[in-house]
């Protein structure tokens, strides 16, 4: 697959269909891949990669990139196309400046999960079907790919590309995922258990803002948390209240717009399951206001900018769940 995509990148650049190509650039190892803008065919030949470690979602880069001169080609995995379309819907990306190529994805691997299996000193990985052969300075190791898939890929919601100019490979389908299982499990806990669970998770937050900065739905020019006039600009959580406030507000600000791309959890250096907060909102929206998938189309109104006169009252939560 890497070769096909690489050739496509070269073709787009040399035919003049695109002036720049947004793709993945290899790093020191096989897993530390950096998003990069390629303008030169030779560089693509040498550095362009596409493998099971190409996690980053490019949609957000297009907000700035589509405002530069010339056209940019971009490779989008199925879940990335949702974010892309959501940003198009919000008029954040200039569509005619982007050439979107849909590419297939069979799930991305989370290097952290490999490390958690006590595999140390990883120097190389080869994909052999369902198995990953791992070279380390302490000898060879093997793991099943499904055991080290990123959480968002384990619970992949769709293999379908919702928007593209050109598609490489076969079109997939929207999947029946189990992504709300964990949310349900937490909902079923007692109030005290839930509080303890989140207290433990959120207390690890170091307020690096990676979740916010990577999020394709967070595209405000100036975030409230950076705005001294907002009264809540903070650099670090000086009290456990501030941790909660940041994460509640962050999730709330993307409610109804979050496509569940899972970037927030991928980038979190402290491995806080931030996607659960977003999924809670998605699940509630589905339950209260009907099924809604952000980014799935260009027409429907987002649930928080819409209403029905017979919507449920907020008191509905008083009787929901909880033993």
């Amino acid at each position: 697959m890497q070769e096909v995509i690489k050739q496509k990148a070269i073709e787009l650049l040399s035919s003049g269909k695109a002036d720049r190509v947004l793709g993945w650039k290899e790093g020191e190892f096989f897993y530390d891949i950096t998003p990069a803008v390629f303008t030169d065919v030779k560089e693509i030949e040498e550095k362009f990669v596409y493998n099971a470690f190409c996690g980053p979602n490019f949609s957000k880069y297009l907000v700035a990139e589509s405002r530069k001169d010339g056209k940019i080609a971009v490779f989008l995995k199925p879940c990335d196309t949702y974010s892309f379309q959501q940003l198009l819907k919000e008029h954040r990306i200039l569509r005619d400046k982007v050439y979107a190529v849909g590419i297939p994805c069979d799930g991305m691997v989370d290097i952290e999960k490999i490390r958690q299996k006590k595999i140390k000193g990883i120097t190389g990985v080869t994909e052999a079907g369902e198995v990953l052969q791992i070279d380390t300075i302490y000898g060879k190791k093997e793991v099943a790919k499904k055991d080290v898939l990123a959480e968002r890929c384990e619970n992949c919601k769709s293999k379908k590309h919702v928007v593209y100019d050109e598609l490489i490979g076969e079109e997939g389908d929207v999947l029946d995922s189990h992504r709300f299982d964990l949310v349900e499990k937490i909902e079923a806990m007692s109030e005290e258990e839930r509080f303890a669970f989140w207290q433990n998770e959120l207390s690890r937050c170091i307020r690096c803002n990676a979740c916010r900065n990577v999020c394709p739905a967070c595209t405000c020019e100036k975030c409230v948390f950076d705005n001294p006039a907002s009264g809540i600009d903070q650099k670090a959580a000086a009290d456990s209240f501030e941790e909660k406030m940041f994460h509640i507000i962050r999730a709330f600000h993307v409610a109804g717009r979050c496509t569940d791309c899972g970037e927030c959890s991928r980038v979190c250096p402290q491995n806080i399951p931030l996607h659960l907060l977003n999924r809670k909102f998605i699940k509630d929206i589905n339950e209260f206001y009907g099924e809604y998938q952000a980014g799935a189309d260009m027409e429907t109104r987002a649930p928080l900018t819409d209403y029905q006169t017979d919507d449920c009252e907020p008191s509905v939560i008083l009787t929901k769940g909880d033993q």
């Binding site: 909902e187 406030m245 907060l277 029905q308 919507d311 008191s315 939560i317 929901k320």
Partner: protein
């Protein structure tokens, strides 16, 4: 739950300017009593209530927060309270998801004519919060004396 003796809760009530604030006024004019623990903050419309306001009220010592607005369909700005309703539903659900007592937040629709309802709502809400006790889960320790 253990309730401290003599616990006097602080309750913040965000009231829409057009209905509930007038409703509060009416209850005063009619000499209907409601607890002095309620601190009213007037907002132009219930949909002006940013979720942040609720959180900050808790941070700065509120034990309960209630939003009062016009009845659905009666919004001075046509549809503000419909949006507020969706937002608050989702926010309260999230607070509950994080393990915060769900009775600490409430939305009530109170019109300008419902002075008695305003007082009754506040009486009931203050009683609920008194029963729940001090807000410990969304407090900012620095703000405690």
């Amino acid at each position: 739950m253990q309730v401290e003796k003599n616990f006097e809760p602080t309750v913040v009530a965000f009231c829409c300017n057009w209905c509930s604030y007038a409703g509060a006024d009416l209850s005063g004019n009619n000499r209907i009593q409601y607890p002095a623990n309620v601190k009213i903050i007037r907002i132009p419309c219930s949909c002006r209530l940013n979720p942040m306001f609720i959180l900050r009220a808790f941070q700065r010592g509120a034990d309960g927060v209630i939003l009062c607005g016009c009845h659905p369909g009666d919004c001075h700005y046509t549809s503000g309270n419909y949006f507020a309703r969706r937002r608050m539903t989702l926010l309260f659900s999230m607070l509950s998801f994080l393990g915060i007592e769900k009775e600490r937040c409430r939305v009530e629709w109170v019109s300008a004519a419902e002075g008695a309802k305003f007082a009754a709502t506040m009486n009931d809400f203050v009683a609920t919060i008194t029963r729940l006790g001090e807000n410990k889960k969304l407090e900012d320790l620095r703000c405690k004396k």
